[in-house]
């Protein structure tokens, strides 16, 4: 974990100073990409140089020495910010993108005291400084000057160079104070890439976790890094140090997703029950455990029953998938499908499932309806609406709007006579008619128009039914009925 992000080791520095061949400061294998960047930037201004040097072509010298012809070099030229400074860009004002925590005064070590009265200046100094520092001139500098570049950067310069992908040395930031200073500069630069890098460099001891607490931005980057590298152990340690108990619980709970074996997963979920979830989530996790525990039992029993070939329903409707790890409602549907009539004593009984998991009446109803309709068990469907009526009335009741009932039935390809019954129960006349038309329930349409005393609509509808059909006869009878007082 203690990744040293340092790009140059001290002994390598020596090497740099003595090197006679490398024109680039950072021409190390670890820094090819910055070389590319810089070479692109430089390529324009020093092209002439390269061409002149052609005969003593030194591959080491510049990676772009074999500059490709045609479009590629054109591209490189275009991409690189040209060094031909013809007209200075208009300067855009700096806006304060600082988020409050980032402000130096909030770091554990007051940076403002370190930089009293000159922080602002330093910022602008470094900016104007870097804005005039071009890459190409550096190439022409005597090699002896390079040492300065590697070791003498202030924290903000270091951060600045890191943003540009240039080589830096973090070695010199050894004291806690220096590290935090560096960290705070990286935070105020807003570049997440650099924030993560500096955070990883800085946070070398658990004791430093507390420093992160006052630097939420760096903390978030660190957490994200640990999440991405899946360093669960350190992440948990960090969260514990921060006292973020709910996050810990969720993070640990999440691990169950990577456990394939159902028994191991169940046992793991059981161990999750003691985690510090919110009371509400705690109940959900408990349900999760109970559900899987039952699914395992149901699955074992049903698989056996299916293989035994004695249970009719499994023969008629072979199971397409295992019920393991399915959501509760899917499980309920399954139980309504395969175990509808079981008494409450078994785990697979729908009533048992309903009770154990506190499933609402409406939810239970919807699921049972869909499952029984799928089986075309219309008697069961019918009973769902009436059985609750203990006074023995025949009027159908539903916790779900009847138009939804129709929808569910129709999706399970219920025959017209079944649909008709429920379409007729839709309260709203308009909705009833439109559903009836959709499902070709002529009787309902005719009766509705009759009830609305709408002679015109009825006449119109007569044109739509088949000639000589029962429906046509019925319409004619109604139209001839002198007792109806039509409204039109």
């Amino acid at each position: 974990m203690l990744t040293s992000l340092l790009l140059l080791k001290p002994d390598e520095e020596d090497y740099w100073n003595s090197s006679k061949f490398k024109a680039f400061t950072f021409d190390d294998e670890d820094d090819e990409f910055s070389r590319l960047k810089e070479s692109k930037q430089a390529v324009n201004s020093i092209r002439r140089l390269v061409e002149e040097d052609d005969d003593e072509d030194d591959v080491e010298k510049v990676s772009w020495s074999g500059e490709p012809v045609g479009s590629i070099s054109w591209s490189v030229r275009e991409t690189a910010a040209s060094n031909q400074r013809t007209d200075r860009e208009p300067a855009f004002p700096k806006i304060n993108a600082d988020t409050p925590t980032v402000s130096r005064s909030h770091s554990g070590y007051s940076l403002s005291s370190l930089f009293k009265g000159e922080t602002g200046d330093q910022f602008s100094d470094s900016l104007s400084d870097s804005s005039v520092r071009l890459y190409a001139p550096e190439l022409r500098k005597p090699k002896s000057e390079y040492k300065d570049y590697v070791s003498d950067w202030s924290p903000e310069e270091t951060v600045h160079r890191m943003q540009q992908g240039k080589a830096v040395s973090l070695e010199k930031f050894r004291s806690l104070q220096d590290k935090l200073l560096l960290l705070d500069f990286s935070i105020s630069a807003h570049d997440g890439n650099v924030i993560t890098a500096v955070t990883l460099f800085t946070i070398t001891f658990t004791v430093l976790f507390r420093e992160l607490e006052s630097r939420q931005t760096a903390l978030r980057h660190f957490i994200h890094y640990l999440t991405e590298t899946r360093d669960q152990r350190l992440l948990l340690e960090l969260l514990r140090a921060l006292g973020r108990t709910e996050d810990i619980a969720l993070l640990q709970y999440k691990e169950h997703l990577s456990i394939a074996d159902e028994n191991k997963r169940r046992d793991f979920l059981k161990s999750c029950l003691s985690l510090p979830f919110s009371p509400e989530d705690s109940a959900h996790v408990q349900d999760h455990y109970t559900l899987l525990e039952r699914q395992i039992i149901i699955e074992a029993t049903d698989r056996q029953a299916e293989r035994g070939g004695k249970v009719e329903i499994f023969q008629k409707f072979p199971r397409r998938a295992s019920i393991l790890n399915m959501p509760l409602i899917t499980t309920l549907y399954y139980c309504c499908f395969y175990h509808y009539t079981e008494s409450e004593g078994t785990y697979s009984s729908p009533l048992n499932v309903r009770q154990t998991f506190r499933i609402s009446e409406k939810q239970f109803f919807v699921t049972a309806l869909a499952a029984r309709a799928k089986l075309k068990a219309w008697v069961d469907v019918d009973a769902l609406f009436t059985s609750r009526n203990w006074l023995g009335f025949t009027r159908k009741k539903s916790p779900l709007g009847f138009h939804r009932v129709v929808d569910i039935l129709q999706k399970n390809s219920a025959p017209t006579q079944v649909l008709q019954e429920y379409v007729g129960l839709v309260d709203d006349a308009e909705l009833r008619i439109s559903l009836a038309q959709k499902h070709k329930c002529h009787d309902i349409i005719i009766n509705t128009y009759r009830d609305l005393k709408d002679r015109q609509q009825l006449l119109g509808y007569r044109g739509k039914v088949e000639r000589g059909s029962v429906e046509e006869r019925k319409i004619n009878e109604l139209l001839d009925n002198p007792q109806i007082r039509w409204k039109n």
Binding site: P68, E78, Q84, H106, D191, N193, E280
Partner: protein
């Protein structure tokens, strides 16, 4: 139906240059590894790569075999492996495994990692940790911008959204700044930049610094104005069902990198077909911004015209026929092909939408936007959940309910969450935690009805105690204040007025006249006012972070000033693009949309799911 553009509407800059730049740079990088090599490409880089280069380009530069990164052991026999990847730790770890496996087998190869659009220190840290730091070389391919159409440029970075807004990781800020810098140096100098959002502000700063570091030639500006906007300024818009043709096609078929795959039900044949959807498709170009209800009429009119054109053949003599065949027939055939595709797509859309009670769904969304009959909306959502209709759709509606209502009542929240977990799995506990962190699906805090008062106080507190308070985890989730914003900006037109969708009168047409997208309304207002003056209340409700800055360029040609580049940080939808195109036609602007990725409600929600490993 096709809106005639204003005569003086400025021309859009030519963005094909960006493709050429990217391609040439890639070639340059490939040539850094001379000799034959196998190339492994990150799965989600394949389509973008396809848009700028083809296999023969790669082959010309000695790429032997092409592989997709699949996190499996490699079977390549080449002694040089090149990896073209996003800077993702998982991918780098996989490469480490590959290299270490080779080492163990005593196999010697050269490896090159090309990160695009940039590499991260964290990736290098992994290389170092896995002990292969010196064994591989790394490079960066600055492929920031992929033009998807004349006026759409994408960074193709869907992870920007989750990384930035959920994890609070600012790794892409520099990328966004560099993107702007690239556009600025080719099509700038920009003269005005407006923006809103925390990330926008940081991206602006990063860009400004890069401008100051680098040098740019003086040139005639092609793009004058820039507007930066964070996705979390407006979550409502991307959560709504899209009803403009292009958005609808995206919602249903998923447009990927400007390309859609139409299945057999659309092509009315036995195979699927991949189709590019952009302004080159003449039929599509005329319907993409239309409300779906107009599309059928338009297509049938087109079909009739086509028939007439074909019918001309009758009574032609040989010579005329020859001319017809050589001059017109090809065009007609092409049009015929396109027309039948879009008719097929429209039919398929109709079928799918009627099946799932789309009308009722839209009604619920509109009620939520209007703040009307919320109880009915809740029970609609509840039934949706009970019937296990669609995991994503249910979540989308819940989020829409939460943002428009500034959170759910605690008892509703608990009950809906419990039912959701029952229907779609308890694993979604993690998803709910994410949504809460982002502020997309939250419980109202007691006494939160005094929103305005409280946020006023909140502002005072924030200003003074800066520190932990704002930056703390919880504050990544902002209050939406949607109702107040909607009132302030007139986002929801009065419902009793007729809205003629064929002759749209404002941007609300993209949502059937029910809602003007907040994001686009802000852009309209700021451009109109040339800044945020007079919008103080609005920005306060949006939690601030607005800015408007002017560069010191002398006012450039008029044309550039009417070209506005809008950059969405965290994604934008096709509906928003349609709305901006409408606004441009109305006001004589041309908008260029730059986005980290094209998004829609499903992508947005999917980015936040956590019910998988």
């Amino acid at each position: 139906m096709a809106h005639s553009a204003r005569r003086d509407s400025p021309e859009l800059p030519d963005f094909s240059l960006l493709k050429r730049l990217a391609r040439d740079q890639l070639i340059y990088l490939l040539e850094q590894l001379p000799g034959k090599k196998d190339l492994f490409i990150e799965a989600d880089l394949m389509s973008p790569l396809d848009r700028i280069a083809n296999v023969s380009t790669l082959k010309q530069h000695e790429v032997d075999k092409l592989y997709k990164v699949e996190y499996k052991p490699v079977i390549s026999t080449s002694d040089q492996l090149c990896f073209l990847i996003r800077p993702r730790i998982q991918t780098v770890k996989w490469i480490c495994d590959v290299v270490n496996a080779d080492k163990a087998a005593g196999k010697f190869r050269r490896y090159k990692l090309i990160f695009t659009p940039q590499k991260f220190y964290a990736c290098e840290a992994v290389l170092e940790e896995q002990g292969i730091f010196g064994d591989v070389t790394t490079d960066e391919w600055a492929f920031y911008l992929l033009p998807l159409d004349d006026d759409i440029i994408s960074l193709e970075l869907p992870e920007f959204f989750r990384d930035n807004f959920l994890a609070g990781d600012q790794r892409w800020v520099r990328t966004a700044g560099s993107t702007l810098h690239l556009l600025h140096s080719i099509y700038g100098p920009f003269s005005k930049i407006y923006g809103i959002g925390r990330c926008s502000k940081m991206a602006y700063e990063s860009w400004r610094e890069q401008v100051e570091e680098g040098e740019t030639k003086a040139r005639q500006a092609e793009i004058g104005n820039v507007f930066l906007i964070d996705r979390d300024v407006d979550f409502v818009t991307p959560l709504c069902s899209q009803v403009v043709y292009e958005g609808l096609v995206d919602d249903i078929f998923r447009i990927k990198c400007g390309c859609v795959e139409f299945g057999p039900d659309v092509t009315s044949s036995d195979k699927s077909m991949k189709v590019m959807l952009n302004s080159q498709d003449k039929v599509f170009n005329e319907i993409r911004n239309e409300h779906f209800s107009n599309v059928f009429g338009f297509l049938s009119q087109k079909a009739r015209n086509l028939q007439t054109a074909y019918d001309k053949r009758r009574g032609m003599d040989i010579k005329q026929m020859k001319t017809f065949v050589s001059e017109e027939l090809k065009g007609l055939k092409q049009e015929h092909r396109l027309l039948s595709l879009h008719i097929g797509a429209s039919e398929s859309i109709m079928k799918k939408k009627t099946k799932q009670d789309f009308q009722e769904l839209l009604k619920t969304e509109h009620s939520l936007l209007e703040g009307f009959e919320i109880r009915e909306c809740i029970s609609f959502i509840e039934e949706h959940i009970n019937r296990q209709v669609s995991m994503i759709e249910s979540l989308r509606l819940l989020c829409l309910l939460s943002i428009t209502e500034n959170g759910l009542l605690p008892k509703d929240y608990r009950s809906l969450k419990a039912q959701y977990l029952q229907s779609y799995g308890v694993d979604h506990l993690l998803t709910f935690a994410n949504l809460r962190q982002l502020g997309l699906l939250v419980e109202q805090q007691p006494g939160e009805t005094l929103t305005v008062m409280e946020s006023k106080v909140g502002k005072l507190v924030n200003d003074k105690t800066a520190g932990k308070l704002t930056d703390a985890f919880s504050s990544l989730a902002k209050k939406s204040n949607f109702r107040a914003l909607s009132k302030k900006l007139n986002l929801v037109p009065k419902s009793d007025e007729e809205y003629d969708l064929r002759v749209p009168r404002d941007m609300a047409y993209i949502f059937s006249g029910a809602y003007i997208p907040l994001s686009c309304k802000l852009i309209e207002q700021v451009l109109e006012r040339d800044g945020w003056t007079g919008l103080e209340e609005v920005t306060r409700l949006l939690n601030g972070h607005e800015f408007a800055v002017t560069g010191s360029t002398k006012s450039d040609t008029n044309d550039a000033q009417r070209i506005v580049l809008v950059m969405f940080l965290g994604g934008c939808t096709f509906s928003e693009i349609s709305a901006l195109r409408f606004l441009g036609r109305e006001r004589g602007y041309k908008f260029i949309v730059v986005t980290t990725a094209i998004t829609n409600s499903s992508r947005l929600i999917e980015a936040l799911l956590d019910n998988h490993v």
